[in-house]
Structure formats: C-alpha cells, structure tokens
C-alpha cells in the first residue's frame, strides 16, 4: 500500500522544520563549545600552562657540602667523609624478603633497621628508595656492588658524613652535628627549606651550632619532572649548591691533645690564650667524649654513661662552669686598691691569722698568721688578712669595677655553647637577687675570691692576659673564615697604671719563683720561660668554728666531691709574655693539684712540643721524664687521643 502523498509531504515538511530547529540548536551548541575552547586555550592559556608546569616540575634541593673546620695549623678538626649506605627500591626488588635475605648473606644487617625499612617501604610509594643499611663499610659496599645482578632494586649510595678526626680532644670546642629536630626547626620563624631534606644534619653543640649559618652553605637545586604519583621522570636542570665556608680555629690541636692527655681522668679544665692576640690556643675540658658517636646516633647506654658520670664529660667546663676563683682573685682586689689609691705596694698589714670584721672572725688560710705583709708578700704567700683589710678600705664597688675591667663577669663572645658570664657581685646585685643589704663581711669574702664571686676558667685566662699585657685583650676562637683573617681581639690599653701592673706581675712572679711562693714547687727552671702565676683554692664546703678548733680536716680525707677545687692562673714567659693559662682541677684538693699541670701545659705551649727536661727543676726531672714517656705512649702521633671517656 502506498502512503498518500499528502501525508508524506506534510510529514516531510514538519520533519524538515523540526530537524532544522534541532540542527540549529546543535550548531549553536557547537559554537558554544568552540567559544569555550577558545576562551580556555587562548585567553587563559598562560594561566593553565603555569598550573601544568607547577604540576609537573618539582624543585628538589641539593644539600651543600658542610664547611670544614681546621685548627690553627691546618689540621682537620671536622671533615666530611664519604658515608656509604644501601638503599632498596620496592618495585625493582620484586620479592623484598628474598632480596633482603640475599643481602643479609653479604653484609650484616641490623634487624631493627630492616624492620623499620620494611614498614617504610610499605608506607611509601614503590619507586622511592628506602635505606636498609646505613654507615656500611667500603668492603661491604664493594661486595654489594659486585653482586648487584643478584640483588634487584638494591643500590649502594654514597653521601657525605661529618667526622671529627680529633675525637675527644676538641669535642667541647667543635661540638657535633645531628639530624634536624623539631626543636631546631622551632628556632626559626621560617625554617630554611634545606632543613627539610631528609638526613640533613645541623650543628647541635659548639662551633658546629654557633657557626651553623657559616658552615651550612647554600643549597643547590635541581628541577625534576614528576608524574602524578611523584615519580621522577627526568632531571630538567641542576644548580649545584655552594659549600659552607671553611673555618679555621685559633686552637692548636696538638697542644689541645697534650692537655687532654695530661688531664687524664681528672675533672679539670685548662684554657691557654695568646696574650697578644687573644687567640685561644687550647680550651680543654676533661673528661671528654667522642663527638663521632653523636653523629652516628649514640646508643642510650653510651649516652647515660656520659650523662651519669659525676665528672661530667659532656660539660664544657672551660666556658660553661663558674667556680669561686679563690686567691686567683686577689690580683683584682690589689689592682682595685692601688687604682683607688687607698694603699701603696709597700704599705704593710699585720696578719695575726685572722681579722675581726664587724664582730665576725675572718680567718687567714695560715692559722699562725703571716706577720707584717706588703703587696708582694701578700700575693706570694697568699695572705688572706691583707685582702680583708684592702676590701674594707676600697669597698666592693671598686673591686667589682676592676673585676669587670679585667674581663670577669662577662660572657665572652666566642662560638662555644653555654658560655657563662660568671658573677661579679656588687651591692645592687645582692639587693636585686638576695633581697639583702651588702655587708662588709661580703666584701671580705669577695676580696679573696670566695662568697658570691664566680668565674669561668676562660675568664680567668682573660684576666691573666689583661694583667700580663695591660690591654683589654679578649678571647678569639675563630682565626679565619674562608681564608679571611678574623678581627684581632688584642684590645685597647686598659688604662691601668703601668707601675701598679708591674708590681702585681712582680708579685705573681714570686709566687712561682720565690722560695716562699705558694707555687715554688711548680716553678720553671728555664731562664727565658719562667712564669708568673697565682694559686687559688676554692672551698666547696664550709669550715665550721668547731672544725677549725679541732683542726681542719685534710682534703685527702674527704669524699671526692667535697674536696676543694684547685686553681692556678699564670702567664709566661715573664719577661715577654706570650701566653696566659688558667687551670682548674675540680675537687683537686687545692692549688697544688693545678700548678704542676699549668707548668707542663705552659712549657708544652711555649716549646710547641715536649719541653727539654732541663726546663724543669732538677728534683722533678725524673718524674717529668716518666710522665712524658707515659703520655707519649697514650698519644698516638698527631691523632685522636687514645683515652676513652670514663
């Protein structure tokens, strides 16, 4: 049956009309799509291109090599040595357990570390390398490299690790580095991105942390193309970092090594300072510790051993500990009195063995008294009564002012950790801190370096250097940074009367060269090396009247931690001073524990090597010879000291 033509025609017209309408709508929509395309691809292209680049390009920092540290003679103190580690990529390894088992046959794996690596591998993307063994020896690395075909996904990697060739000797000076902690980051308002690099190490203690910015260097960067899951596809370009600056210390590592060995297991500290330039030639604190252990990550057992040792190996005693200076403070009192004009060097004071000060009896160390004492005798024999008398005449304010002029009570600016400012007390200080009036008794105590006065060995060395030169010499620890000589700390003239200084130096000379001097037994025989010094004993206990009455208990009979500290300060050679030395032996029992060490150190520093025996008095020579031989055995050449910390 044929369809009626009319119907067909009508239907055709309708379909054509509606078809055109729909076709028109479609054309319109195509136009809209085209317009949208143009808008996105032409008008907004730059913006989207930027986003695409941001997507694909990752900037990875390249850690710079840390600046190396040398001693004043160019001996390495902190170096970067290659550190080998073994990493594993999960997706390349395939069967992780099998590969680890195979690897375990070649090198010793730490089960703890393996467990940690396994968890990390499960957590992170399969293409990221995970460290399975750190600080692997060169032999192990070679074995892994040779067997590479049987170890899919395993790669030996090399990085730089900090090492301290001087070991114990300079631990307190250079300190050590360690991984960046939350606390390190919190010190920055906006932490440098470099610190976020995994395994990046930052200075924790000592010069390493104080000169962190100098040593760290500038990060390099490489731009890499990554895909959506972060896999690196290729490196686009790379800019190497700028290594940190090379730092040269003023310390002489050989002298430092000698002193550490000489101090042995004593809880003691020695500062050797160049009186002309302020250079710290040695700052030794004993016992010490091995900073390399901290870089590797010290074990809990090792750490508690260090922490719980009552000789405090971790403390940097030369700068962070303050002791009552004892009689070594007497030069300060004497110079204050001379400067104030309240006495002359020849004025004498009668010492009956004590002085009555506002109803309280202040004892001289020598119960029988010194009789008539002038300045030289007072220092030589360390008469206390003489200084009680001076204190009453000159007053605490002028003593405190002189102490500050000589570098006490001030935290000297050297890049070591926890530098103490010690304490130079005066009336205002006592009022503010103790809420009490200053009394004359306080002045009497302060005059002989007891009571409130506290000084660090570094401050004592500075004081001695200033007395020796008359200049406001300050300590300097950094000699050069990247070869640039750092400013001298020689200082201006102190403006003290040269005659007064000469009298005090003269008296200090008698201390160790006059038969009646307190340090005569520790004198130097060599004519041109002779030293001027001052002994000090700082009391740890109080001597009660009752004890005094029945006779003071001898130090040797006391438990170690209640014995007196022994102190000695000196400069040498007397005629043309080159070095100032401050020695403190904690609980050494008295200054006789410090002065022989000071003499050995002084001679070692002046000669630059083991001094000839004839520099010592005849009767000491055999003992010194034995000591030198023992120390020579304990000190391997030019190296880390053989001793282990207690």
């Amino acid at each position: 049956m044929r369809r009626p033509p009319k119907d067909t025609l009508e239907s055709f017209r309708k379909i054509s009309r509606r078809g055109l309408i729909v076709g028109g709508l479609q054309a319109g929509f195509v136009g809209l799509l085209g317009w949208r395309m143009r808008h996105m691809q032409v008008d907004q292209a730059d913006q989207f291109r930027f986003l695409a680049e941001e997507n694909r390009i990752n900037i990875r920092l390249i850690p710079p090599a840390r600046g190396e540290i040398f001693d004043r003679n160019g001996v390495a103190v902190a170096a970067n040595e290659p550190a080998y580690r073994i990493t594993m990529v999960r997706e390349d390894a395939g069967d992780v357990d099998a590969v680890l088992a195979q690897l375990g046959k070649l090198v010793t794996l730490n089960p703890e570390e393996i467990e940690r690596a396994r968890t990390e591998m499960k957590r992170s993307a399969p293409f990221l390398p995970v460290t399975v063994a750190d600080r692997v020896s060169w032999e192990d690395i070679s074995r892994v490299a040779v067997n590479a075909p049987t170890l899919p996904g395993v790669t030996p990697e090399v990085g730089l690790s900090r090492s301290y060739p001087q070991g114990h000797d300079l631990a307190h000076v250079v300190g050590y580095v360690g991984p960046v902690s939350e606390r390190d980051l919190s010190r920055y308002e906006d932490p440098p991105p470099l610190l976020r690099i995994p395994r990046f190490q930052i200075g924790k203690v000592g010069v390493e942390t104080k000169l962190e910015e100098t040593l760290r260097g500038t990060a390099g960067a490489k731009r890499v193309e990554v895909n959506a899951v972060g896999r690196v596809m290729r490196e686009l370009d790379r800019r190497e970092g700028i290594g940190g600056a090379t730092v040269q210390l003023t310390v002489d590592s050989q002298l430092q090594n000698y002193i550490q060995a000489r101090l042995g297991q004593e809880s003691a500290s020695v500062v050797v300072m160049d009186v002309q330039t302020g250079d710290i030639l040695a700052t030794a604190s004993s016992p010490s510790y091995d900073p390399n252990k901290f870089v590797r990550g010290i074990s809990v057992a090792d750490y508690s051993l260090l922490r719980d040792n009552n000789h405090r190996p971790l403390a940097s005693k030369t700068v962070q500990d303050a002791y009552p200076p004892g009689s070594t403070f007497k030069m300060v009192t004497a110079l204050a009195a001379l400067d104030a004009g309240v006495m002359t060097p020849d004025d004498t004071v009668w010492c009956p063995g004590y002085l009555e000060v506002s109803g309280r009896r202040f004892h001289c160390w020598k119960g029988a008294g010194h009789g008539h004492v002038n300045l030289e005798q007072s220092l030589r024999e360390s008469c206390d009564v003489y200084y009680y008398d001076l204190a009453l005449k000159v007053g605490i304010e002028r003593v405190a002012a002189m102490a500050r002029r000589l570098g006490l009570g001030e935290a000297h600016d050297i890049p070591m950790s926890a530098i103490t400012s010690g304490l130079v007390p005066d009336k205002a200080w006592k009022q503010a801190n103790r809420g009490a009036e200053w009394v004359v008794g306080d002045s009497a105590n302060a005059a002989i370096g007891q009571g409130f006065v506290l000084t660090s060995p570094l401050q004592l060395a500075v004081m001695t250097a200033r007395i020796a030169t008359g200049h406001a010499v300050s300590p300097r620890l950094i000699k050069r940074i990247d070869g640039v000589e750092q400013p001298s700390r020689a200082g201006e003239l102190l403006g003290l009367n040269e005659n007064h200084l000469r009298q005090v130096r003269r008296a200090m000379f008698s201390v160790s060269n006059n038969r009646r001097g307190t340090a005569y037994s520790a004198r130097i025989q060599a004519e041109d090396m002779r030293m001027a010094g001052k002994t000090g004993t700082s009391q740890v206990r109080n001597i009660t009247a009752a004890e005094r009455a029945r006779g003071v208990t001898r130090n040797e009979d006391l438990p170690w931690e209640r014995r007196d500290h022994g102190l000695f300060v000196n400069f040498a050679p007397f005629d043309a001073p080159r070095i100032a030395v401050a020695t403190v032996v904690e609980h050494g029992g008295g200054s006789s524990a410090a002065s022989p060490i000071a003499r050995d150190v002084t001679l070692q520093a002046l000669y630059g090597e083991d001094p000839p025996l004839d520099a010592y008095p005849k009767k000491d020579r055999s003992k010194i010879k034995a000591l030198q031989e023992r120390l020579a055995r304990e000190r391997p050449l030019n190296g880390a000291s053989g001793q282990e910390e207690a």
Binding site: M1, I15, M37, Q41, R49, A228
Partner: protein, 382 residues
C-alpha cells in the same frame, strides 16, 4: 509496510549502490577515527599497543559493518526496528541479572571476543524504534496523548534499566536522544514545555532529597555534581579529574605542546586519558587548532547527516538519520562539555575517538543505517 511503499524506480541496486554511498560522510568518519588512533598512540607513550592497534582493527570491522548495513535496503531495517529494540531490552535485563561488574557498575556482557554493552546498542535501536513508530503512526495522531505516552514508555523503560546499572551518562543520552527524536517527529511543543518544567521541578526535588531517606541519586553522583559546580572545593579528591583536565586543555594554547609532548597526559595527571578524557590530550598536544579541528569534523558529520535527512522524503529514513545524528551529537557534546568543565563528569566517551569496542561498532552500525537511508532514498517527485 512493503517494498511497494517506496518509489524504487530510481533507487540504485546491486554493486552500483557503493557509488551512491554518502562518501564525504564516510571520509569524515574515517578522519575522526584517525585522530583517535593518533591520540591513542600518543597516550600509550608512542606505542600502538595497548590501545591504538585494537582500535584500528575495530574501526576496520566497524567500517565493514557500516558498508554491509548500508547496502541492505532501509525498509529491511525499518522492519527490524521492533526486533532490535526487543533484543536490546532483553540484553539490558540480562546485564541486570548476570552482567559483569566493571568500574563499580554492571555494564557489559562478555561475549568472548568482545564485551558488549547493551546500553550502547540501545542508543541506536531506540532511535530506530521511534523512527519506525512515527513512520507507522498516522501523522494526525502524532500529538494525541495516548500516542505520545506510548513512545515515552519506549524511552523510559530502557532508561530505567540503564539507570539501575548505574550509568547516568547513558541514561541522559537515551532520554535526551529519544525526546529529540519525538520532537523532530512533530510532537506538539506543549509536551516538551511541560516536560522541561517538570524536569526543573525534578532537579529541585533531587537536590532537596540529598541526605534524606528517599535520596534520588547515589552519593557519588551528588559529589560529581558538587565537583562540577565547584571543582576547586576538592582539588585532590573528586575535583581532581576536572581540575587536571582543564589544566591540560588550557595549557595547550593555540598550537599545543606538540605530539606526545603533553605533560599532563604523559605524566598521568589526566585520568582515563585513553577513554573519557582523550579530548583533553588532543587539546593539550595540538592546542586550540587541533581541538577546534576535531569539533569542526564533528559538526560536519552532523551537517552531512542533516543534509541527507532533509533530502530524504521518506519519514523513517529522515527521522532515523536525524536521530542518529542527534545521538552522535549528544555523545561529543556531553563529553566535551565534561572535559571543559561545562558539565559534570558522567562518563560519556568521545565518539569514534575514545578507546572502546561497543561504542565504536555500534556507532558505525548507526552510520551504516544513515548510509542505507541515503542510498535507498526515494528519488524523483512525490
């Protein structure tokens, strides 16, 4: 319904039919498919496997199918419309009962040599059925409520089945495609106005239903709508696809980043880069020029179909041609809107370009019908 209804006097017969094929249309289809091969080669990182090679084979098969379908007289296909629709519905029900689950939705049946998506087949058979229906229906009855209600059922039944899979993209395509065929068949304006008003109401209801016990869409569908409305709200989650797609498209600029140089696709920032988001790769690598060229090719395909339909005095043939063109249009319009951030991500492939067997073969069969209509069109005066 017989052979005699057609004015066969001028209809070519035998092998000569090949000369009467709509060759420009065939060439356009082949060009679009070639762009597809190129892009599949590119997203595979410069390799024919795993996508370009099977796609070429499928297109070859599809092209052959198109020729076969084209050479079979159009009246045969008209008679097959009801059968085709019935088979499609049966397959959709089969999928519902024991179809394989892929990408969280039941969509295909494994035939061994290929995976058949009945919903794809339905897009063509629905158009066929509607065209045949309006061919059969006396024109006066076209707008009568009962005769309008009937085709609406034809449309809604498969739509409902597809929605259950769930496949929102295909459901929208079926509904819109069916509606447009009815519109072109001449159903009265008022029905469409009413439906649009109702749709407005429904959209409101859908949004109102969110979070209630009678929620009308799945959560992921709601999230896709959210993402569409504000991709930045969830740049690493659901919004990731749209954001990355827009970045890729926009970064192409005028001339693109070069063949196989598209960083977004090469570095896997683009999702589904060989299927739904392949247009983005094209736009990234060949820029506005490349993307607009493809759009132009698509527009030309539609234009050739419309032209062919307008020349054709046969009601079934023109409606079928227009319907298939419309379905084709909906495919690329929805896909492109989606990747350009104009529509939510609903999972509609780019026709003839996206990797995928069913869609390609069925579209080619659809164009075979268009060709058949073209070859067998009544010629001469009516």
């Amino acid at each position: 319904m017989s052979y005699l209804e057609y004015n066969v006097k001028h209809v070519p017969s035998g092998p000569r039919k090949v000369l009467y094929l709509n060759w420009p249309l065939a060439i356009l289809l082949a060009s679009v498919a070639a762009i597809g091969f190129l892009m599949l080669y590119s997203v595979a990182g410069g390799s024919f496997s795993p996508w370009a090679e099977p796609q070429i084979k499928r297109f070859a098969l599809g092209f052959a199918l198109m020729l076969i379908v084209a050479l079979v007289p159009i009246w045969f296909w008209r008679n097959m419309a009801v059968v085709g629709y019935g088979v499609s519905v049966a397959l959709l029900i089969a999928v519902e009962l024991f179809g394989a689950v892929g990408m969280g939705a039941q969509r295909w049946i494994d035939l061994g040599f290929m995976r058949l998506q009945p919903s794809e087949l339905m897009k063509i058979t629905l158009v066929m059925l509607l065209a045949a229906y309006y061919d059969w229906l006396p024109i006066k009855k076209t707008s009568r409520p009962f005769w309008v209600f009937l085709p609406v059922l034809f449309v809604l039944f498969p739509t409902f089945l597809v929605l259950r899979q769930p496949d929102l993209g295909t459901a929208i395509l079926l509904m819109t495609g069916g509606g447009l065929v009815m519109f072109m068949a001449g159903v009265h304006w008022a029905y469409f106005a009413a439906v649009l008003a109702a749709a407005g109401g429904l959209v409101t209801a859908v949004f109102q239903s969110r979070g209630t016990s009678w929620q009308l869409l799945k959560d992921y569908q709601f999230r896709r709508i959210d993402t569409f409305l504000d991709p930045a709200s969830d740049p690493l989650g659901a919004g990731y696809h749209i954001t990355q797609s827009k970045i890729a498209l926009g970064s192409g600029g005028w001339t693109g980043r070069g063949f196989m140089q598209g960083t977004q696709s090469r570095l896997n920032f683009l999702p589904e880069k060989h299927t739904d988001f392949i247009f983005t790769t094209l736009a990234e690598e060949f820029g506005f020029i490349g993307a607009f060229s493809l759009l132009t090719l698509y527009a030309l395909i539609i234009a050739f179909c419309v032209a062919s339909a307008l020349q054709n005095r046969d009601r079934f043939a023109s409606l079928l041609t227009l319907g298939i063109a419309t379905t084709f249009f909906l495919f690329f319009a929805v896909n492109m809107s989606m990747v350009m951030g104009l529509a939510p991500v609903v999972g509609v492939p780019l026709p003839l370009v996206s990797y995928g067997g069913s869609a390609m073969l069925i579209l080619m069969i659809g164009f075979g019908l268009v060709q058949s209509a073209h070859v067998h069109r009544p010629r001469g005066a009516i």
